[in-house]
């Protein structure tokens, strides 16, 4: 059986595609199908999704001018959805 969209998207992530647009360019799948596939892969545990922020938290940490409580993330700034491979397809 040839690979369906789900496996094609998973393979694109494994091959190093960094954004949905890159997967779209490399596979020709619609963005709707790509996003649905990514959600499904997250649901199935093949990818892990994590909201990430590029900004430091706004309250100080007492040791550095721009830092804050040691959470590593904060609610300001654009949030990235990081998806990382958590298990490999057999």
């Amino acid at each position: 059986m040839s690979a369906g969209p789900l496996r094609v998207v998973l393979e694109a992530v494994q091959a190093g595609s960094l954004t949905s647009n890159e997967i779209h360019r490399s596979t020709g799948l619609s963005m709707d199908m790509i996003r649905t596939s990514l959600d499904q892969l997250v649901r199935m545990g093949y990818l892990s999704a994590e909201a990430m922020a590029t900004a430091c938290p706004p309250s100080g940490c007492g040791s550095c001018g721009s830092a804050s409580a040691q959470t590593g993330t904060c609610s300001t700034g654009p949030v990235l959805l990081g998806l990382s491979l958590t298990r490999r397809a057999s």
Binding site: M1, A3, G4, P5, L6, R7, L10, V13, G16, S17, L18, T19, S20, N21, I23, S30, M31, D32, M33, R35, T36, S37, L38, D39, Q40, R43, M44, Y46, L47, E50, M52, T54, A55, C56, P57, P58, G60, C61, G62, S63, C64, G65, S66, A67, S68, Q70, G72, T73, T76, G77, P78, V79, L80, L81, G82, L83, S84, L85, A89, S90
Partner: protein, 669 residues
């Protein structure tokens, strides 16, 4: 499904129901669909919003239920009645259940688990008589997964297609008849916001109820392979969409897509990133310079003069208190506060990049570069955070699933140049390279990235040769105009952190430095009345000074400042300022005197190769241990052994790089 449930079965479950769900024996129709497909709007349109809402007994799941009038008697017009429903009364209404939104029957939330249990109960007799799956025509792939799963069991199914207007705006045409053929279930176009299609849906439901249940769609034997099973569903959905829809050849490209094509391009992206950061540092140093000079003049002039006058007035003139206040607090903390405008501009510009969405693209660019050199892909985030502050950056290594990745990244974070180090770069750049301060600061950040890359590769090649790749995908937010309120909040939040540092740990450090500089060593002077060169501070610094002679800054003033910098990098400036204020207080009345004093010492210690020595000093400052808070965080995250190893690496790298830079620079100059 040969035996049908009825409203009385379901109604009996509703102990909190305000009244009967529908006429006893009426068929039960379940309305299901992914979140945000317009399911509840359809429910309200079909039932006139006469819903009863309550928790399903024994659960916290909220279910809407209401009577829905459908032309049930029309079902007798359907010729094939074999296997048709056998509910008690073929009346004119059904019991309609509005189930919680569910994308899939593979439940990952209590709501989805509930929907699955209700649609696919262990006992087939408990199933609803018919399932209406609500599907978004503009996002069919997302909506049809539930259809594919529902169709894997025998049962009556009708697909209600919503959002056709949205699909039309996106130039997506859906052939309802073809979709019906592909899905094997009736498809009805509805627009619940305008009540369009409600009658068609009611008719389709009535007709389906009058027919035998649909047979389950055939599937290949996938021998329990979960991924293959899901992939088969996706392939089935793709086939249906390909056959039944016409979409624009290319996805509609937004402005964000157009910009991203350039900004995240493999080669152009890094160049744009570097250019953007260059502009940030140029703007920061250029715009802040006059403000900084003004504050410098304020603290070293009127503020110091006023403090001396007040202390003299209360009889403390010439005492150790005056020494502490003027040479310690005002010289140390005051000098640090002159960097407030610079920090404010820098934080505002970075917040602007973050809020506009650019920083997320920078993360993509950085990540790609890191992958190219073999570092773990996800490590980019802690490293980017590290350019603000190393402490939260090390905490952020928790996002890395592999312990080796966590340790490696936590060891690399101290090489990212935090904003505390920025103040020192700016002071030295303004002193030694006044015409290209922005370029020098920019170069320090590039060197910081170089350190991360080189040290990362070295550790990977020696300690973790088998470290695997960790693919990462980033869902980029659309670009947006920056919000002034958010910029203000973020900038002030970070500036507050800087001020808190200046008023907390730096005051304590200033007091400790002042104390050490007030203790005479070698019999010269008395407490608080001793040349700093004869103090305990200078004596301690001089023991280490020879180590830095090969790097061109073997003077105790610079080495003492670096030692104090272990506490916090901001303290480098305050301790330097204290040292020279005590040493030559009269000369420091003029703005820029600190810079002159530093310049003179570097010229002496480097044998005239000042430029090379300053670069060496800045590079040492960049690479050696950032601060005690970073060490404490490392200790907590990766343990004592790796923390001490990291300190050793940082000091070694810092010293070797500083010596190399000075020696090469000396030869070239």
């Amino acid at each position: 499904m040969t035996t049908n449930s009825s409203a009385s079965n379901f109604a009996s479950c509703h102990s909190d129901a305000a009244g009967p769900l529908a006429a006893s024996g009426a068929p039960v129709v379940a309305l299901v669909g992914a979140p945000n497909v317009g399911k509840s709007t359809l429910f309200n349109s079909l039932t006139g919003a006469r819903r009863q809402v309550g928790n399903w007994p024994g659960t916290t799941v909220e279910v809407g239920r209401a009577r829905w009038s459908v032309p049930l008697r029309e079902r007798t017009a359907v010729p094939d009645l074999a296997g048709a429903g056998s509910w008690d009364e073929p009346g004119s209404e059904v019991a309609l259940l509005d189930l919680p939104g569910a994308y899939s029957l593979d439940a990952i939330s209590p709501d989805e688990q509930f929907t699955r249990t209700l649609l696919m109960p262990p006992d087939e007799a408990d199933r609803p008589d018919l399932i209406v799956v609500v599907a978004d025509a503009s996002r069919l792939a997302r909506s049809l997964y539930l259809v594919s799963q529902v169709r894997e069991s025998e049962g009556r199914v009708v697909v209600a297609l919503t959002m056709s207007d949205v699909a039309a705006r996106r130039e997506i045409e859906v052939d309802v008849e073809e979709l019906h053929r592909r899905l094997g279930a009736p498809v009805v176009r509805v627009d619940p916001r305008h009540g369009i299609g409600d009658a068609d849906l009611a008719r389709a439901v009535a007709q389906s109820l009058g027919r035998p249940p649909l047979p389950a769609r055939p599937r290949p034997d996938l021998a329990g392979d979960e991924l293959a099973s899901a992939d088969e569903r996706f392939a089935w959905i793709q086939d249906a969409i390909d056959a039944a829809t016409v979409s624009p050849q290319a996805e509609p490209r937004t402005w964000s897509d157009r910009i991203d094509r350039w900004v995240t391009a493999p080669w152009l992206g890094p160049i744009i990133f570097l250019a953007v950061m260059w502009v940030v540092f140029q703007l920061t140093t250029t715009a802040a310079a006059p403000l900084q000079d003004g504050l410098d003049a304020l603290f070293s002039g009127p503020v110091s003069t006023a403090a001396v006058a007040v202390l003299s007035a209360i009889g403390l003139g010439g005492s150790w208190v005056e020494s502490f206040v003027v040479d310690g607090l005002i010289a140390g903390v005051g000098m640090l506060l002159t960097f407030v405008p610079l920090m404010a501009i820098m934080f505002a510009l970075l917040a602007l990049l973050e809020d506009s969405g650019y920083m997320a693209r920078a993360a993509v660019v950085t990540d790609r570069t890191m992958r190219m050199i073999g570092l773990p892909g996800r490590a980019f985030l802690p490293l980017i955070v590290g350019f603000g502050c190393n402490v939260p950056a090390i905490s952020a290594t928790r996002v890395l699933p592999d312990s080796r990745h966590r340790i490696l990244t936590a060891l690399l974070v101290p090489f990212t140049s935090c904003s505390a180090r920025l103040a020192v770069y700016v002071m030295l750049a303004a002193t030694f390279f006044p015409n290209s301060a922005g370029n020098v600061v920019f170069a320090m950040y590039m060197i910081s990235i170089l350190f991360v890359v080189v040290v990362g590769l070295a550790l990977k090649k020696t300690l973790w040769r088998t470290m695997g790749r960790d693919p990462l995908l980033l869902d980029l937010p659309a670009y947006q105009p920056p919000h002034l309120r958010i910029l203000g909040i973020v900038t002030w939040g970070r500036l507050k952190g800087f001020l808190r540092t200046a008023s907390g740990i730096i005051v304590a450090t200033v007091a400790a430095v002042w104390l050490l500089q007030s203790i005479p060593v070698g019999g010269q002077g008395s407490f608080a009345d001793v040349p700093v060169s004869d103090s305990a501070y200078a004596a301690a610094a001089q023991t280490v000074t020879p180590v830095f002679a090969p790097a061109g800054f073997g003077n105790w003033e610079a080495v003492g400042a670096l030692a104090v910098g272990f506490v916090a990098k901001e303290a480098v400036i305050s301790s330097w300022s204290q040292t020279y204020a005590v040493e030559e207080p009269s000369e420091l009345d003029a703005p820029g005197a600190l810079g002159d004093a530093v310049r003179e010492d570097f010229a002496q210690s480097s044998g005239g190769h000042t430029t090379a020595a300053v670069w060496a000093f800045m590079i040492f400052l960049l690479a050696y241990t950032p601060c005690v808070a970073t060490l404490a965080t490392q200790w907590r995250e990766i343990g004592r052994k790796w923390t001490l190893f990291g300190v050793g690496v940082q000091l070694s790298v810092a010293w070797v790089a500083a010596v190399a830079v000075f020696q090469v620079g000396r030869l070239l100059s």
